[in-house]
Symmetry: C2
């Protein structure tokens, strides 16, 4: 790699996998950050690595973005750009589509999963499309007043919950840690944990906290469908009780 200071013309440096040397702008920074996250993971997306991939000095990024935290929240917003579904006849279809869209979006960029659990709250992108859509669907379902906000928070939590866990990064000790988990599952005491022992074949590497791979290597699509059904059935039943 060439030295950073050996750049006498002041021209944009050419990094290894750098994109075009077009003028820097916010969208290009966000796109490059997402590419870096997809390739190397969330904590490898430092401002220094990001700047290097863009062929600029680290501090140049601060002209367009005020902090790493806000940059990452914009990356998440970009990933979730199109999760708000098209209007649907049945409110159940709208909510189901939102959950599936969110799941699909994160599956394409699994390394942003930790952001889903901690930044979805502070989205604030003034884009209330999904918020309005979910509220309208829940109101159509029959929720109003305090129950509407309860149902809304329930749904948003459900939207993030499963997917956050499914793609949560597992320890990097891929060698030792994986065998340790497998060993602890193999030595489960059937006296002490009978239900676990009896269903081990179904749960091994498929159940949360019983896995040594995450959703990238061991998808949980069947459980996700069950999860979506549970949320929608729960909302249906609750609204019928009023």
């Amino acid at each position: 790699m060439t030295s950073k200071t050996a750049n006498p013309r002041g021209r944009r440096k050419k990094a290894a996998g750098a994109d075009t040397q077009s003028p820097l702008n916010k969208d290009a920074i966000i796109a490059a950050a997402l590419a870096l996250i997809d390739r190397d993971g969330l904590d490898k997306c430092s401002l220094r690595n990001l700047a290097s991939s863009l062929g600029v000095y680290p501090t140049a990024i601060y002209w367009y973005v005020s902090s790493r935290e806000l940059l990452l929240s914009e990356v998440l917003a970009k990933v979730l750009e199109h999760v708000a579904p098209a209007p649907a006849q049945r409110w159940q279809d709208y909510l189901r589509a939102a959950m599936v869209n969110c799941h699909d979006a994160v599956r394409l960029h699994p390394n942003i999963a930790p952001l889903l659990g901690s930044q979805l709250v502070s989205n604030s992108s003034t884009d209330f499309t999904l918020v309005e859509g979910v509220l309208a669907a829940l109101q159509q379902a029959g929720f109003s007043g305090p129950a509407l906000s309860g149902a809304y928070n329930t749904f948003i939590a459900a939207l993030a919950g499963f997917t956050t866990l499914e793609y949560a990064p597992l320890p990097e000790n891929t060698e030792a840690w994986q065998h340790q988990v497998q060993e602890s599952l193999r030595t489960v005491d059937p006296q002490q944990h009978p239900t676990l022992a009896r269903n081990m074949d179904q749960l091994s590497n498929r159940g949360f906290s019983l896995r040594w791979q995450n959703g990238v290597d061991a998808a949980l699509d069947e459980s996700f469908r069950f999860y979506v059904d549970t949320i929608l059935c729960g909302l249906e039943t609750l609204v019928a009780r009023r």
Copy 2:
């Protein structure tokens, strides 16, 4: 503060809020880490700050703990130590108690919330008490085979989901950011987002992604009860359909 190198006797240094100078051990390290997280937040819990609070050199901690990541997962395990409820007659009561216990545990240590979303998966503490209890409850409910693992993953995801979001850390710009959120809520277009506009008084600072405070300053207890009801109703309805 006294210099770190001015410690000629080799005695334990006395830090500002340090505990007893008892011999270092894993439990003391975990307890000190949790105290530091409670006081200053998750990312202020560096090995260096932690060591300083224990009156030792940063690298001393590595004798007891192999990495910061595993230390934090042990801190989470300690916080969730007693979430597994006592056996209950009705499976619904067991699952509800587990969710309430988890919520209560995190409420006491809200700054660990991000760990809940990303480390609960890799618990691996060989403590399968909760896993077995949840599986037994779901089997008692009537789930078996693939549906059991679907129900299990659904419940674990539900266990972490709401609480993770409720206590997720919001941007530190408490001055500017809070007003920005409030302003964007005040200027919501009733034409474009009618349901949101009509229910703004219920949702302002109470709805996810419509808040400028997190669960510490603005609890969401009512929504949480709604959420628990939704999960349990959903599972009840799904099992009845089989």
